[in-house]
Structure formats: C-alpha cells, structure tokens
Symmetry: C2
Subunit: 269 residues, 2 copies
C-alpha cells in the first residue's frame, strides 16, 4: 500500500465538505479526492435501493485513483450502503454513523440521546442500533428533520423561520429529556449556534451537540496510524469533482470547505 | 396517427400529477402514461445541462409506447429542455410555460405580473420572455421560492412556518404592485388557500393566482381537437412509472392525483 495514496471522500453534494474539512485539519498531510454527486442530490429522501446504486457508482469512480481509504461523508449512504461498498473495494470504507454514535455515548450523562437526520437516515434505524451496540441501556429518540437542508442551502440559518422550524422539530425530543443530540446530516452543524440559543431560552437544559465530522476525522487518523499508512510529509494536492455544475459547487461549497477551491472538475456518472 | 395512442406526461417527481389530473379531467377519454423521475428529483436546483440530460432519458423511455403528444409537466424542464426534446420525437411536445404565460396575460389588469418558481425555472427567464412575447408592455417581477417544495412535501401547508415563508418570499413582489401571480412549479398550487389568506390580511389587494396545470390541459384539448386526434370513446387505462420507490410514489402521489393508483411500476433509467 502506497503511503501517499489518497483518501476518497464522497457525499450526495456539498455538505460532505464539512467532513473533508475536518479530515484536512486532523490529517494535514493527506491528499483528498472529493466527489459530490450534485446531479442526483439529495439522497436523504430516496429509497435505500436507489441510494446504494448511486453510492456504488461514486465509489467505482473514486477507486480509479490510488486510494488507501474511503470516507462516506453522507449519513444516508453510511446508513444503508456500507456492506455493498465494502464488497467492491479492498481498502477500508468508513461511515459517519459509528463515530457519531460513539461520540454521543461518550457525551451523554442521562443516557437519553436524540438523533435528527434526513428521512433515509432515520428510517434506516442505524444510529439507534450503533448507539445500542455500545450502550445497551441508552434511550434514543429520533426524528427526520428534512427542512433543515433546504433552509441551510437557502441561506436562512439564523432567521425567525429557521428558529420556528427548529423549535417545531426539537421540542418533542427535548421533552423526552435528551441531554445529547446527534446532528445526523452534514448540513446540520450550520445550525449549532441557533440550536444552542433555542435550548438556552426555550428549554433551560444543557444539551451536547454531536457533529460526526469531527469524530470520523479522529477515527481515520487512528486507523492510518495503526496501519502505518500516514502520508510522508508533503503538501497535499486535493482534487474535487462534481456531477452537476462545477460553478455552483465552487460557489456554494466554499462556505462548507472554508476557502476557495483551486479547481472543481466535472464528472459524468 | 392512432387516435388511441397515449399521452405521455413526465415530471421530476410527483408534482406533475397535478398536471396529469387536470388533463384527465379535461380529456377523460385519453390514456395517460406518467413518468416521475423520483430517483433524480428535484430538477429545480440543478443545472440546465443536467436537466436536459435527464429529460431526454425520460422522453426516450416514454417514446417506447405509442404516443400522440408529450406533456412536460415540470416547469424546470419546460424552461430549458423543449428544443432538445423536440429533436428526438416527432409528436408535439407541450411545456407548461407558454400556457401559464398566456393565462397570466389574460388575467392581469395592471400589467404587473409576479412569477415564482424553483431556481432553475427563474434563472432561465423563460416565463418573462413568454409573457413579453404576448404582452410586450408587461412588467414582470420574478423570484425563486425553493422552500415551498420541501414545505409541501413535509405536509406543512397551512402552518405558521409556511405563512412566514410565504410572507418573506411574496412581500417584495406585492410591494411592486403585482395583480397576478404565476405559480411556476407543480407543488405551489397546494398553497393557493394560504396565499389568498396572506394577500387578504397582510396586503389588501386582490391577486389572481395562475396555475399552469389548468392552462396546459385546455391547450392540449385544443391541439388534439384541431388535429382530429381525440381518442375514441373508451375508458382510459393510465399507466404510472417511477424511477425510485413505487411505494412512496403511490403513497405521496395520491394527494396530488386525487385517488389511489391501480399500480405504479418501477423503471430504471
């Protein structure tokens, strides 16, 4: 295995760039190849069969490059497609569910955990089973919160509309006594501040927000270290691909990646 | 041309069923073949190139059946893909833009018309040019209103959140003095009642809502009549296809179609 092989990262769109960014922070010497399947997004509202089909195509594309690991940045794909993906490549395939579940269990004191995500993620029940695997006495309340993605993409984070939507979605979970909330979608961390404000004013309770992007980056560093696969010291040369307009990807994705892209290439899958 | 050939109708998903329903009302003897490309929805946020590619695939599928006309129920496809579609089939291809534009011109008294739609539709500027073609002195104010689709699909029509979103989107158009509003997306007619209530209470002005589904059904009847292509009196046998889960299509689509489906078939495109 080549130390300087790249790390493949993919998502249905641009949200996975928050995961890629955390990996780049945690492992600054590693080269990332990122694929956003923007022509078919969102995955979160689609059936498991369709999501698996798209995920297999994405991984087949990434695997044309020399890789040492693949990170599934999308919660929906992580929920339903990991077994299928592990059948078609020999390198490790990491999903966001298990790292997020472990972080939630580490954070909770009451053992009452909330999970929000897109419909496909919640329907799969994968967060529940991953949490119960490490904390069998945990009580988990989950809810699909689909409007948060278009609200984020419309740039309405921080608005009164967003506050009302968050309140509508979260109040039932808070009333169940959760002290930890898993943000089970790459877009949701954008609402961290507004969620904290909501919990502080509406419900006087301290609720820990779990962002899987941070957890998976740490997990990936441990994996590469244990397998002696860290890149030699060198500046990385990331590559970014999108299946729809590269111009839109570069413009909207900038907010998720945190800086401008050198170049975004189009790929037809 | 066979009188009893079917009418092909397609959309990115289930919204186009509102158009199919109007056609079935206007032309109760005609057999419809409906395709919802639910595996790739939504189209409204995607680039023109990608939308054209998907639309060509959809029409190629529909054209395997014997057709006498194709109705593009999707505003985004109607905005960008009609020339490409007319190249690959010989039967008439009708889009929703021109009928909607003509209905808006017929309705307006002040000549000041508002248009709302998904980003791809508004970006194309097709409603503007279609309106100006029949009323060159019209003043048109348009706005992308992407959140209305997930709000409708989440079942939040009629809620306080929906009211705030509509107010945020529409107030600038009302302030421009529009007396007619084109609902440039198949999902938007679900908000008719709430829009009328908003205009009545917030802005004391009578604004006519234009729903293209009704206009295109009338247009299609005129076309078939003029070409002597109306079906012989017989009960129609509609067929419905979806590219993602047929179960979800049948469940959610029921509200748009107005009754249960005999059967929905899956097609992999």
């Amino acid at each position: 295995m080549n130390h300087n092989a790249a790390i493949g990262v993919f998502d249905s769109g641009i949200g996975g760039l928050t995961v890629a960014r955390e990996i780049a922070r945690e492992l600054p010497g590693e080269t990332l190849i990122y694929l956003g399947d923007t022509a078919r997004l969102p995955y979160g509202s689609k059936s498991a069969e369709t999501v698996i089909k798209y995920a297999v195509r994405n991984v087949s594309f990434l695997a044309k490059s020399q890789l040492k690991a693949i990170v599934v940045a999308c919660n929906t794909v992580s929920s339903v497609a990991l077994p299928a993906l592990r059948e078609i490549v020999s390198v490790p395939v990491l999903g966001v569910i298990e790292p997020g579940a472990r972080a939630a269990v580490a954070a909770t004191r009451s053992g009452i955990i909330g999970v929000i995500g897109q419909p496909g993620t919640i329907r799969s029940g994968r967060y529940e089973s991953a949490i119960l695997q490490v904390a069998s006495a945990a009580r988990i309340y989950s809810r699909p919160t689909p409007l948060l993605v278009p609200l984020a993409e419309e740039g309405w984070v921080g608005t009164e509309v967003a506050r009302l939507v968050l309140k509508e979605y979260l109040t039932p979970l808070v009333e169940k006594g959760i002290d930890t909330l898993v943000l089970g979608c790459t877009h949701y961390p954008l609402f961290k501040e507004q969620l904290n404000a909501l919990f502080a004013t509406e419900h006087p309770r301290d609720i820990v927000l779990v962002d899987s992007a941070v957890s998976i980056a740490v997990e990936l560093r441990k994996l590469l270290t244990s397998q002696d696969l860290l890149a030699d010291a060198q500046p990385p040369s990331h590559r970014f691909f999108a299946t729809d307009s590269t111009e839109t990807f570069a413009r909207v994705g900038r907010n998720f990646w945190g800086e401008d892209f050198p170049q975004v290439l189009h790929v037809d899958l």
